[in-house]
Amino acid sequence: MSIDRTQVAALAALARLRFDGEELERITQEMNRVLGHVEHLKGLEVEDVPHEDDPLEGEGDATRGSGAESPDALKLGLGAIAPESQEGFFVVPPLPGVHAEEGQ
């Protein structure tokens, strides 16, 4: 299976990337080379094989921690990592295209 420049450009939009001109041509060729290698999987029969996304799923039931928790409170206060604060609020950059007056 191969992929063409139009499909690559569409994928790039999904991935929030953009490739133009020679760059688009190059990544199309590179992706096709890798996908050509991936084609080796096609001949392999896997109809009855379960898929797994956890490499130690069998181990997990008995041994994986059940008490997982959300991360602890940050070791640094938020104020220590915020770029700027004003009147008790954090100052964040304006959204592009949105004027400060509109955001108020």
Binding site: L41, L44, L56, E59, A68
Partner: protein
């Protein structure tokens, strides 16, 4: 060791790093170095008291930037610390610097770092391997005795092999990944690198064990790997499997002869050598590059100019996302995001991603069946010795094939170690010893007995 002595040792390491990296023999192994006046020892009585520790730059640290080798995280300071760092500090280790790496751990040569390639201390015209190339080079050059890396498809074992040091990928879930910047979440595992097996065992003991902050952490007590490693005097009774599929076309003749000699030495130490088969090995690279890129494309979606690091303002929100990612990511990261997006996209998901997960099951079953017959498996780590800088960077597929002997293990979740076993073309060769899930004691013991019988780990780069 007193706290004062420990701090002096760490300061001497920092001075050595700065001296080396500023001189004509610079390696570019470090992306940041600690302030020698700001050091402290968490536990002066700990097993690692005063030991200088280098840390791969994808592990979150409070006192040093964490860039992941990427422009998109340039200057990023984490508000929390990785569990492995906290545990190493609690054992007395002193973090002296953050090491160079392939951007987001995507690469096998450290050439994909946004901050320039790391050079191999044995030959500065060659790569150190990757993606933990900075950590391996720092240990090989004697700048630090120990380092931490991460291994998604071989990124601890391969640079360890190419730089002539020891590196271990523990079982998936053996070491907490809390604070490790994600690449492939079902594959990533943190592992120690050191000049010998004993130091690897000590550092692994310090960082291993259950962590409630990591939902994939295995709730199994970690043993004292140093004590486990030293049990017995030889390898009598140990069954060592040699897989036919790991001695294939593309394996350099010098690497193969070195590995076969090492297998002969294991037999001389009393091990029983057993020919085995891992029949689905040929599918490991396609499966690995479908699953890892799919996971990476999802993990890296968070870098959009809003939540972390670099921001490039565009005409609207989507344009800001796009411009930030275009400016922040290097070519290899973009390539993998694209491949992963393709593998996960509608119409291709079943043909690629789902099938890869099914073949992953077959790869794991191969290992499970073999471990009913043998205790450990041995193989090459890398099909070649360290190659020239620039030799493969323009051919992504050739670079991906460098992981042919290491990626299966990440897909199966089992553990493996690389131990120096000789030289080819004047460059180090690593012997890979693979164990089953939670089989770290067996592979450390095998590696230790081999190391005790040989002197390869003492062969330092010229000039040291």
């Amino acid at each position: 060791m007193s706290a004062t002595d420990g701090l002096e040792r760490a300061r001497a390491s920092i001075a050595a790093i700065r001296g080396r990296e500023a001189g004509s023999e610079a390696l570019n192994a470090f992306l940041s170095v600690a302030d020698p006046d700001g050091l402290s020892i968490g536990n002066p009585q700990g097993v690692l008291a005063g030991v200088p520790l280098a840390v791969k730059d994808n592990l979150a640290t409070l006192d040093l930037d964490t860039t992941c080798g990427s422009r998109v995280l340039e200057g990023y300071r984490s508000p929390f610390e990785a569990t492995v760092i906290t545990r190493a500090r609690a054992a007395g280790a002193v973090v002296v610097g953050k090491t160079n790496m392939d951007e987001f751990a995507m690469g096998s040569s450290t050439e994909n770092s946004a901050y320039g390639p790391t050079l191999n201390p044995h030959d500065r015209t060659r790569v150190p391997g990757g993606s933990s190339g900075g950590s391996a080079a720092a240990v090989a050059a004697g700048l630090v005795p120990m380092a931490l890396g991460s291994d998604t498809g071989g990124s601890v074992r391969q640079p360890a092999a190419l730089c002539g040091v020891v590196g271990i990928k523990p079982t998936y879930g053996r070491v907490s990944r809390y604070g490790l910047i994600a690449h492939g979440s079902s594959l990533d595992q943190i592992g120690p690198l050191a000049k010998d097996v004993e130091d690897v065992a000590i550092l692994l003991t310090a960082i291993a064990g259950y962590d409630r902050r990591d939902s994939t952490s295995l709730n199994v007590p970690a043993p004292d790997y140093l004590a486990e490693m030293k049990r017995g005097d030889d390898l009598k009774g140990l069954k060592v499997g040699v897989p036919a599929e790991y001695f294939i076309e593309g394996l350099e003749a010098g690497v193969e002869s070195t590995i076969r000699a090492a297998i002969g030495q294991l037999a001389g130490l009393g091990a029983e050598i057993v020919d085995i088969s891992l029949p689905h090995t040929q599918y490991a690279i396609p499966v690995y590059y479908l699953i890892s890129t799919a996971e990476a494309s999802a993990n890296l979606s968070r870098y959009d100019g809003v939540r972390y690091g670099l921001r490039r303002d565009g005409e609207d929100m989507w344009d800001t996302f796009r411009q930030t990612r275009e400016a922040g990511f290097g070519p290899e990261v973009k390539r993998r995001i694209m491949l992963g997006t393709y593998a996960l996209s509608a119409g291709y998901y079943d043909a690629y991603y789902l099938k890869a997960q099914q073949v992953r099951t077959l790869l794991r079953r191969d290992f499970e069946q073999v471990f009913e017959q043998v205790d450990v498996i041995v193989s090459p780590v890398s099909p070649t010795v360290a190659f020239e800088i620039g030799a493969k960077i323009d051919d992504p597929l050739q670079m991906y094939l460098m992981d042919v002997f290491t990626a299966s293990l990440n897909l199966a979740g089992f553990c493996g170690i690389s131990v120096p076993c000789g030289f080819s073309e004047g460059m180090p060769v690593g012997l890979q010893i693979i164990g089953p899930a939670l089989g770290e004691s067996a592979i450390l013991r095998t590696a230790y007995r081999y190391e005790q019988a040989t002197e390869w780990h003492q062969q330092k780069p010229a000039g040291l």
